[in-house]
Symmetry: C2
Subunit: 451 residues, 2 copies
Amino acid sequence: MQTIPTTTAVKPPLIRTTEVSAHVGEIVQLQGWLHNLRRLGGVSFLVLRDGWGTVQAVTEQEAALLPLVENELNTETVITLEGLVASVPQAPGGIELHQPRITVITPVREPLPVVISKREVNASLPLMLDHAVVVNRHPTRRSVFRLGAGVMAAFREALAQRGFTEVQTPKIVASATESGANVFKIDYFGRPAYLAQSPQFYKQIMVGVFQGVYEVAPVFRAEPHDTTRHINEYVSLDVEFGFIENHFTVMALLRDVLAHIFNRLVESYNPELSLLNAKLPTVPAAIPHLHFTEAKELVFQLHCKNLQGVDERNEPDLSPQEERWLGEWAQKEHNSDFLFVTGYPMSKRPFYTHPDPARPAYSNSFDLLFRGTELVTGGQRLHRYEDYLAALSKANLPTAPFETYLEAFRYGMPPHGGFAIGSERLLMQLLGTPNVRLTTLFPRDLNRLTP
Amino acid sequence: MQTIPTTTAVKPPLIRTTEVSAHVGEIVQLQGWLHNLRRLGGVSFLVLRDGWGTVQAVTEQEAALLPLVENELNTETVITLEGLVASVPQAPGGIELHQPRITVITPVREPLPVVISKREVNASLPLMLDHAVVVNRHPTRRSVFRLGAGVMAAFREALAQRGFTEVQTPKIVASATESGANVFKIDYFGRPAYLAQSPQFYKQIMVGVFQGVYEVAPVFRAEPHDTTRHINEYVSLDVEFGFIENHFTVMALLRDVLAHIFNRLVESYNPELSLLNAKLPTVPAAIPHLHFTEAKELVFQLHCKNLQGVDERNEPDLSPQEERWLGEWAQKEHNSDFLFVTGYPMSKRPFYTHPDPARPAYSNSFDLLFRGTELVTGGQRLHRYEDYLAALSKANLPTAPFETYLEAFRYGMPPHGGFAIGSERLLMQLLGTPNVRLTTLFPRDLNRLTP
């Protein structure tokens, strides 16, 4: 049935690169960027990139390239490309355009600051970040951010299916409440105000309204860290819900949300995952869990000799090395990329954390380790008004800045809890990226405010 | 088939208020807040509210209320309620719980600062806003915000279906670029930085990556307005896409997105729309449009005598009164709640606006009026690097603060455009709410930073 249509006054259909394979034998029209142009012994290979993929056009006719050549145009020139779709097994994707006709929409004459027409971006991290405006156009780079969109969509979908309601809570707040030091200060019409470090207080308040809520929004941390894992503005995936039994109810939901996210990525983002060689984890039906004290003891049993004689069992936190060891243990013993560590000491958790009723020095909280690194923090919160007054007093915090937050508890809150996932951190660990700045669209750090 | 089951050691199923009607004749268990308790001549009516709705329980047994009465508990006490589901035509929703058994989860003893157990919230605006933490629990109040969640979800769905990609762009920016005056200043590790007024520059940049993008995120406006229509932080629904012909391509997409949003609300949010008596508009297949100059002339023809002799045809903008008149005209002449006004004077639009090639004093931009008030602004943007240099020069703006933004245009951008919808403003106009603060979860204005 492959009859070759003749070109008529009727314009060929305008399609996307991802639709080309459905049009073999037809003349089609595409719009996009000149991604690459190679000329090998009389044959020219032109790659057009649009918002979704790339397609290669091949010609032996030098004249076909005239619109590009006569003006010495560079890659990233915006063009319309017409051509006949041919099935060519050895071509990328098994498809090529023949008899190309090029029309220039927006010419580019200057060479790019970073070459983005090769299979990989070959540039230093600072150069990539300085020129993220163009570097993010590269197929591997934009795949990262398309997966980011997929993570957000799947997160919302998992929670909407369970009857949770989306909220968008204020980012400008009156007091540097949750932990005084790490907030950015704003000049709010001559008064001081702050950027919210997290939607923690508001998502708890909203449990009183909707029972279960989620939020996908930026959070701001004025932490003067300069590490590969910290940025000062990131997208937080937040959940909070009521009528839980304890933190294990929260952990069960987190398990299901993560499983939904990874399933969705596999279903809908296969091209991006392949391009990035991503190894997606299987989320076990029940993620193994260890109490903090068990985890400490386990690490000591397994690795005490590696610790240069220092017994860290009494440290109230896990070191990154300990987390890696626990990750290896979970892999070996449970064949799991994931491990919950529960019951962190109350001394290391914020004032609103619910203690373990049986062992009040430990909390009803958890961290989720993913491949040996902390990915999610969550837990049960206090819900009784009098418990908040006692907790603030114990933490030597005044009640006045918390007045509106406390109103939620004064007027009836159920046992509740939740968790927060850093979206860029999740992508970083999922893709094995060495620096969270590479899974952030336009990162903000100690030294970087642009682009 | 209505046999009354006997209570056994097996706990009755825990269900939501919205599921009760499917359990007539069964004993069920619900968890939520004591929304209301009325005692009328020996009969007590108890209303339980959970995150999704309310259900009424009725009893003549004083003893059933003992857990509430003996401790003098108030509304908003968190309870578990067991009861036998009965079909009672005269009850709210046609359903009642009989033989209620109440267990207190979290007691509330203090009277509420604002009564939220009646059909309406009867309080002044400041009182409602001061106590939004509890007032937002009221069924009418939370319906507003559940519709807000519906608007966001439907907006994203409309764009995802069309191949657009979601982005989350930085809110902390290096320079007060788009219009210098109205930005909040931040102390960023000792350096000045600003809160983004809009994702305008970043969404344009991202057209170079994904071709079509959308974002749902907070924007920050340091405008010292004190009106019923302005707040200083709101949720902006942003769209930008490439390969458009002109602003009419953008208007066509906007029309379809709005139609999708309203259809979704009708499909999925009927209880909320009914409770709020919302009159949803029909979006015409083609929304009528007038050029700015035609709109001015039309208003003059229809209403010049109302203007106390002042001829406003040469004013470069439409007054709120003129917008109302145009809204009435669209309703009368086109039976449309919507009217596009296109081609606003370039002098009133930001530097990146694309001029009308045929009449360069006017722009390829538009406002969408909804029921006589501006709801959406959008248009075509410049896309050639040299046009940006000329536009910045004409506006007496330096190029340095725009360096990374300009990089997008230097390296190839197609004709593109987009629009932005204020989510709270949309809800306000849709619901006929007198003040945008009432469609904002926790509003921020000149005087208000809490709750």
